[in-house]
């Protein structure tokens, strides 16, 4: 398939892998965080770690949209979905995310009308087709998905659709990265920067990472060769004693971002003073809410929201996994109480979650598998 296969070429991967190995200083261990869950998924899905020397560890970061949704917020969404006459619409990823009392799937089984959609515009279509219902879109995701939510609200306003609103859970990536950099228990050598988020926000917002924290960051694409190349670029920076923001994904990411998209977000949404993240706690200025002038499309203003707060179970170590302090398998409940069938933590739900990626794709002994695939 054109424009995809070129970035999955095993021969090029072998060449890059050799260059990566030659750049590693003997005796030095490297820890790079891929911030974005899409990268985590790619790394496991293509078996990318087979190309890395053992001294390089990839640490999985917090950039998985459903992973950071706290249990209480799911309960609030279900509360809305259970109101009479409401149709909740959601991305498929969100359907199995557990709240304090269960997931969207569980709520559906008990009679709530919840439909899977592929974009917020599909949710708006559902609203047009069901004028006697109120259709709510469960808006989640980082700056990547916020513009399409914003555009949908603008479209709904232009068409004067009166039975549509969004339950806004959009979060922003920079405060999460900052939280990780300030976390005392993690020492990283650099970041593989989130490619999709950067198509919107550009590369400038990362400059403080190099400037104030002295860490290199390379914005990377989502094909396996993109990630290998970004690791190579990080190693080159370290070898040359540099820490800069570089753009490996220039074929998609403009340095200044997408001003049109940012404008749409800014028109419809504003920063919340603070927002709770699963496992990370409250982070200030880390999420978006609907502006007053679009109140008619804001489920939080239309419905009474309980503002549920559900404590993460003590044995659940999602926070440590999201910050990259723990590898998924190091969590106490990984693979036993918490599995993809019965996820306790959000990281086990989404295909972009570090725990789900490891459980579904990486759960094997490398030594024994080397033998089997010889």
């Amino acid at each position: 398939m054109r424009f995809v296969d070129e970035y999955r070429d095993a021969e090029k991967a072998r060449a890059l892998s050799a260059k990566i190995a030659s750049l590693c200083e003997p005796g030095r261990a490297y820890k790079f965080m891929e911030v974005c869950g899409g990268h985590t998924h790619t790394i496991y899905k293509h078996g990318l770690e087979d190309y890395l020397p053992e001294t390089i560890t990839l640490v999985h970061g917090p950039g998985c949209p459903v992973c950071v949704i706290p249990m209480g917020r799911v309960d609030d969404a279900i509360h809305i979905a259970e109101r009479p006459g409401v149709v909740m619409t959601s991305f498929g990823d969100m359907m199995r995310v557990p709240g304090g009392r269960g997931s969207f799937f569980d709520s559906m089984a008990q009679g709530a009308e919840i439909r899977m959609v592929y974009s917020p515009l599909d949710a708006l279509k559902v609203a047009r087709q069901n004028p006697d219902k109120h259709v709510v879109f469960m808006a989640i995701g980082f700056e990547t998905t916020a513009p399409s939510t914003a555009m949908t609200v603008l479209r709904a306003a232009a068409e004067e659709i009166g039975n549509f609103s969004i339950f806004c859970n959009h979060v922003t990536i920079i405060p999460a990265i900052k939280a990780i950099l300030d976390s005392p228990d993690l020492r990283l050598d650099g970041f593989i920067g989130p490619g999709h988020v950067s198509t919107i926000i550009g590369c400038r917002p990362y400059e403080f990472i190099a400037r104030d924290y002295g860490k290199p960051l390379v914005v990377a694409g989502f094909e396996p060769l993109d990630i290998l190349q970004s690791i190579y670029m990080l190693l080159v920076q370290l070898a040359e004693g540099r820490s800069q923001i570089e753009n490996q994904y220039a074929r998609v990411v403009p340095w200044a971002g997408n001003l049109k998209a940012l404008k749409a977000i800014n028109e419809v949404m504003e920063l919340r003073p603070y927002f709770e993240w699963r496992g990370l706690g409250f982070i200030s200025h880390s999420a978006l809410k609907v502006r007053e002038r679009y109140a008619a499309f804001d489920a939080e203003r239309i419905f009474e929201i309980p503002g549920s707060r559900v404590a993460d179970p003590k044995a659940c170590q999602c926070g440590e996994v999201l910050k990259g302090v723990l590898k998924p398998w190091e969590c106490k409940v990984f693979g036993t109480a918490c599995t993809p069938e019965t996820p306790i933590g959000t990281c086990m739900v989404s295909s972009e979650g570090a725990c789900a990626a490891y459980y579904n794709f990486g759960r094997f002994s490398r030594e024994r598998v080397r033998e089997a695939t010889r």
Partner: protein, 415 residues
Amino acid sequence: MTDVKSTDIKRTGIAADIEGTDTQDTGTAGTGTAGMGTERTAGWAEAAIREHAADTRAPSREEQVLERIDRARRRKARVKEEHITMAHGSGGKATQTLVEAVFLEAFRNPLLEPLEDGAVLGVGSARLAFTTDSYVVSPLFFPGGDIGDLAVNGTVNDLSVCGARPLYLSAGFVLEEGFPVADLRRITTSMAEAAAAADVQIVTGDTKVVQRGKADGCYVNTSGVGLLDRPISLSVAGARPGDAVIVSGPIGEHGVTIMLARGELDIEADLTSDTAPLSGLTTALLDACPDGVRCLRDATRGGVATILNEVARASDVAVVIEEDAIPVRPGVRGACELLGIDPLYVACEGRMIAVVDGPAADAALAALRADPLGEGAALIGHVKDDPPGLVLLKTSFGGTRIVDVLVGDPLPRIC
């Protein structure tokens, strides 16, 4: 934190506003602040953790974790949900759990226990294969077929992969009040044509009508019997190290066709369902390799990945497949790439997996390829002894990963 003002995105640049950003522990930050009230606990989660209390200690080595997970996975299945969810119908882990914990538990007997596509019954000196399947596909009519030929072919295929010659089918209909008779005729015509093509007769049937809104147009059930006239015993538990794994043609076409036919995705591709009777193909294969075939399965719900996992688990072997060797048509690959779905999990309705003795692989491939339905047949991997129970994929990129059973299917009601 109480004096934080909402910040103008335009001025600060969204998310670039890092000044004053801080993290606080959930336990202490919340008290007394609006929207950050008292916390509840998730009772169900605490219960799940208590149940696995013996396992919840921080393991020191990755190997220990893998062993621990393996133990947990081998435990008896238990349905934890209080209600049936869509995942229970997906053909993945949730379905497997439901079948084992509810149906097998209630009906347990030696004929049912192997949980193959059909049961093999001894009647006098004859051996009969017996199977049943219900069809709830939406939409009822789709490119390449409809619920009628799907219902006939599905049951014919379940009999064929038992190694049997399909003979007689039953047809049961659940119809919704208001369903157009013309549509019903279209369905029955297509069933009759499919039955003729597969050389089976529909010899008994049943009709029920339910009130409007209590069903979705038309559901069909077919059961079938076939004659096992060869001295063979095919079983998902029969794979041995050294065996070859073959797929009879490009995968995933039915599932993707149905998904696109629903028109919800605004994706267009020139695809048709692969629904077809496999009886000719299985006959050709068994004629060519009378002693070499260990196991045949049609790759329906859950796709090729689910079948291979059943083989790995039931035979206690590793199945190692190569991504580059798996035939997938560009339209299917493109749609799957866009939707973030792995074609390995997408249903086929006219493709089968054959596990054959290694030395018989060439003969098996030749026999399959000689039939138009099997011209795209390919050797996709081999059976190894270790690590048992796992399906491993050598990716096109050159890495390795496992291919697990899905929990729920991303595409409900495809058959």
